[in-house]
Symmetry: C2
Amino acid sequence: MIRQTAYTVEPWCVREQTLDLDMLAQSESVFALSNGHIGLRGNLEEGEPHGLPGTYLNSVYELRPLPYAEGGYGYPESGQTVINVTNGKLIRLLVEDEPFDVRYGALRSHERVLDFREGTLTRSVEWTSPAGDSVRVRTVRLVSLVQRGVAAIHYEVEAVDRPVRVVVQSELVANESLPDLGKDPRMAGRLESPLVGEESVADKDTAVMVHRTRHSDLRVAAAMGHEIDGPEHTVTMDGFEDVCRYTVATRLQPGERLCLVKYLAYGWSSRRSRPAVHDQVIAALAAAKMTGWDGLVREQREFLDDFWAGADVELDGDAEVQQAVRFGLFHTLQAGARAERRSIPAKGLTGPGYDGHTFWDTESFVLPLLTYTRPEAAADALRWRHSTLDLAKERAEQLGLRGAAFPWRTIAGQECSGYWPAGTAAFHINADIADAVIRYYHATADEDFARDVGLELLVETARLWRSLGHHDTKGRFRIDGVTGPDEYSAVVDNNIYTNLMAQRNLRAAADVAEQYPEQARRMGVAEEETAEWRDAAAAVVIPWDKRLEVHPQNEGFTHHARWDFENTPPDHYPLLLNYPYFDIYRKQVVKQADLVLALHLRGDAFTDEQKVRNFAYYEGLTVRDSSLSACTQAVMAAETGHLELAHDYLGEAALMDLRDLEHNTRDGLHIASLAGAWNALVAGFGGMRQYTVRLSFAPRLPPGISRLAFRMRFRGRRLRVTITHDEVVYDLLSGDPLQIDHHGRPVDLNGGAVRMDVPPTPSRPTPAQPPGREPARRDKTAR
Amino acid sequence: MIRQTAYTVEPWCVREQTLDLDMLAQSESVFALSNGHIGLRGNLEEGEPHGLPGTYLNSVYELRPLPYAEGGYGYPESGQTVINVTNGKLIRLLVEDEPFDVRYGALRSHERVLDFREGTLTRSVEWTSPAGDSVRVRTVRLVSLVQRGVAAIHYEVEAVDRPVRVVVQSELVANESLPDLGKDPRMAGRLESPLVGEESVADKDTAVMVHRTRHSDLRVAAAMGHEIDGPEHTVTMDGFEDVCRYTVATRLQPGERLCLVKYLAYGWSSRRSRPAVHDQVIAALAAAKMTGWDGLVREQREFLDDFWAGADVELDGDAEVQQAVRFGLFHTLQAGARAERRSIPAKGLTGPGYDGHTFWDTESFVLPLLTYTRPEAAADALRWRHSTLDLAKERAEQLGLRGAAFPWRTIAGQECSGYWPAGTAAFHINADIADAVIRYYHATADEDFARDVGLELLVETARLWRSLGHHDTKGRFRIDGVTGPDEYSAVVDNNIYTNLMAQRNLRAAADVAEQYPEQARRMGVAEEETAEWRDAAAAVVIPWDKRLEVHPQNEGFTHHARWDFENTPPDHYPLLLNYPYFDIYRKQVVKQADLVLALHLRGDAFTDEQKVRNFAYYEGLTVRDSSLSACTQAVMAAETGHLELAHDYLGEAALMDLRDLEHNTRDGLHIASLAGAWNALVAGFGGMRQYTVRLSFAPRLPPGISRLAFRMRFRGRRLRVTITHDEVVYDLLSGDPLQIDHHGRPVDLNGGAVRMDVPPTPSRPTPAQPPGREPARRDKTAR
């Protein structure tokens, strides 16, 4: 676990000032650079020591068999696993006779800085070799947000107090050996050396390697080029199947520096030929060289300045969360900025966790942030879903359903879930995708997208719901045998979250089909079908427990035995690792917000009184064994007036990775939780909602935060909302006038600041959580 | 599929008069011999051709890994699989230069007869070699029901029309190569050559081989000894690690015979030493030789005469079912007669199907037959369960429950189910075991058993139920999240079958604990605990659908969509091979009797009107994709007055293997279905019930059966019940006077025949089955 002191608390960067080998893997995730296409873990340039070497290309995966003790119809037979592709980060250094390795000699100083505005990872090291030779090494690394296939490293080595002979080796290495992660040996065996060499060309300062994956048959190309500045030196270039090595040897006087700029280009394709992929990376390399190192840095800053102008969040009173929320915004942007019709995985491209799979996290937690801060990235992510529609339709057909059934977990669109009760049965992912389409459309008014992409996604998911549900003899539309967001209940009837999201899906499909009648007709949508969708939506079952006056998460839920929280030892969480599913499923215990997520996303379907009672009831059952819970609990705690509790949950979501709260940051960052922290601030304390086209706010701050200001993009405009305990200032920073709601009252924004009062917060007893599962207190003095 | 003409229809045997190589594997199952300890498939003596060579020893298994694409807490990591042990059936024959092989030369005549009264398999063949030499071969094979470790073969070869030189080779062969059954390659790989040689001793006419299983570490010994009668001959004996061969060479004149008696002895142990197991089989061999062939045959006949005297069923009007029900009685006896504290597998010892596992079939379908015909075998089977109590208690603890959780499928007592929704969740197996204990106790008044075995089984299963269920706020005792007998619904709340059987379990545990207070106290049972059991039993939830006026199989079942039977093509059954579980589970479709089984076993908990309505409702939903359904449907069809339908279902159950109705008789017989046919006759047309100590009958025959007579054992007595359309004759064949019920009226049996009238059958419309899933009509002329 990363200790409190691991990183200094600063508003615009994450800074590490000591190198702790035990948390190397975690820091590699925290310091990962990505543009959504290329991902480089924060491995040290010299390769060793490492926690887990990682270089990823979005959607480059290998297949592995999915075994079953007892098989079943429709079970996926092979899974997709992200692989570590050719490593171009490697720059080894020989100081006299000693390889530069921080485990030997003396590390006199160490600093790494991830800068959210520069988009760079900087490392500054002073090291004395076992033989007593000292060097300063300074590296700056970036993965270009502007040039999608490009990364670059600025490497500088300086002699300190006496002349030293140095040799710098810059490499491309394929099929690196990876440390054993203690997983299933079959999987590890399969993914040993996943790349088969096709070509390795090394000449002068440039090298290109092309490989193919063994089973998934994807072609991957990596290239490196170099520029050198420094005293007289010799260079050599060697090329082998899995290694290309550019070697520079020189002698440095004290204070003298050798400077190397390493340009990297990556490309891959499932279809294009070896020469085509080869040429693609050579071309990317040429463009990068033309831009030059300074140019790349400048572009990066400009890109990020533009992003922050429409996305920044300022927060007074909680410096840790201030840092964390910008860290989350930065990494979410990195995950999605240039994914461009590829998936945004749960870990982004920061580590191999969850096999590199994409889940509903993307649509439900990541895309809200991107939709209101970098909408083009949200659109691209949904275009990727759209590109997999044929696979989703095939899957629906295999399952005996109409329309499209999107996979619970995947890289390339095929279902990769090996446990159907928590995979295939979680049909809500289809409504989550639809919801992301609706949100994007409402937030951007992007009619091209609605017509060309959104409509078909809505239509095919609506068809799924219509065929998945049925009308009972009382005419109610039931959706039986599905799993909602809470994975501690499975295969249940009428999960309220699922039913309400399906309702929204069905209605939006009908609305957009009527808006684009010609396109809808081409999809075979007739009036009868839209009418059926509306009828089903209107009749959807929403169970209600009269006795408790709360909504059961699904039919029968509130009749189940309560989990025996009192006798569950703290080290028995997460429950799924310590209790059988059968026992977890049949009791009242909630892994992650489910009905509470419905209260947020379908707040229009509940009264205020219901929200208050439901939130309090589910707080007592929610153990938060998922990183996708705290942010939603924060949002609903804020809406129901429990502002300090909301602040606590915000901390849990925001600090997930900087504090390694789930002890698995080493496998990659929890992008959705980081994005969720933004949701907790904007939808929680900002009270931002957009149930329809209209944007509304209901800001209120907890005692521990004295000021919150956030920027967002909305239908071509930029807004800034600045909240203090007493008042809110709405600024229309750019774009046409707009009417919004402030605590239910319309407010016209015509440019310039509009000042509004914050109404008093109703006082209610704070709901209790299961013993030991309370969020950590943010404001130790209050409550 | 075995064609109608495969076997002649005869009352006391199964006779095959042609050898069809395509159905060799099926016939090997049908002609299997077993005593519950040793099982020999009906392989030809010469070994080839074969469908599937099979020699089994009860509970000799190998371990194999159970893989999961996504693991879970409490999932079993290794499974147990029955293995083919050392084959002692082999007797090869060389006729001049030609090996006797029915695929070459000319098979002039062929007959095999399985005789239910003799307990032997006889084979008579006349064969002409490709070179024109003719021989007659006659073999008689038995697995002794009296000497548990012994089998024997009487082998006779006769020259027909010219002198021939013959060589007979009698063998013991370990690690026979098995045909590929097209299963998981991991499993096949693991079970290739499962035996590791420890010893092979061959001398004179006797050979012994001792092997160990690789992973399960069981020691298996097999021995053979020989007697020869015939003209001058030479003998040799060879011994190797995996083969021992006894060779006899002679020259036969036309009409002259060589006769070989081969005695086989088997033994195994998980604990005893090599010499101990070696000596055990040598001793068994000595006993067999002392008895001699004629003695073994005589003992076998006497054993069976005694069995039939208390078990025979006579049936006029349906000769096929007459044969089939005796076939079923014979094979059920074979499966259980000498299992002696080992399990009775679903396939007996007739084939490797279901990995040789034992399920609830034993207690719920096989033990009723044995309880009333060979009660000592039923007691032994329950003593086996008792011997695994520690494992079941460990499993309960692992699952967070009290008491004992018996495995869904196992050989040695460990849970081997690799899919928990249809395995671990099927907790009803615990109540089924309790029910078998109660039944046996009521049927025998065996107080030693009740005190030493039954009480603890009842107490530990009652404890399981008490901890598995909980009281809701209305004080009702709910059992949530379990799977009932119908595997087309899973992980449901308040399955009525489970709840009613748990109720019976809880009450019986309290009753027997109060009967043996001292023993109960030693198990920690206090008054408070028995009171808790009775309270839970009294408050158990029994859902009721007011609108339909039927019992839903479980909570919510009748609200689910009906399966689309109309659009399910005939070749899409069984559904589980053609539709995903998610879809099957969430719809109204029933694989096998569940609520209808509750109507039978807990008929005391339903009114007649409820039985009629429930039976009709579930008939329309039951697709009978399990061999464990037809017999129960027969019983309840009979009780609700649908006698022709009952007759049809009886046919389905009884002819399961003789007609290969499920196309998998090759893997072994469906012992529970065969036993179920007895249930269909005795509990169906005989109306036999024993809800408490009292035995009751309500006989009624369908038009197609003119007379049904069955014998049974009951509390030290033998009874015969003879039913015609108009009257019933109750005969107390031996034992003390007894009062029974006949159609609800008490009848005193004091020895001699008591004649009673059969009341008229109420007329009701016959319920419909899903299209295409109707049972085949037995009586084509009626209805």
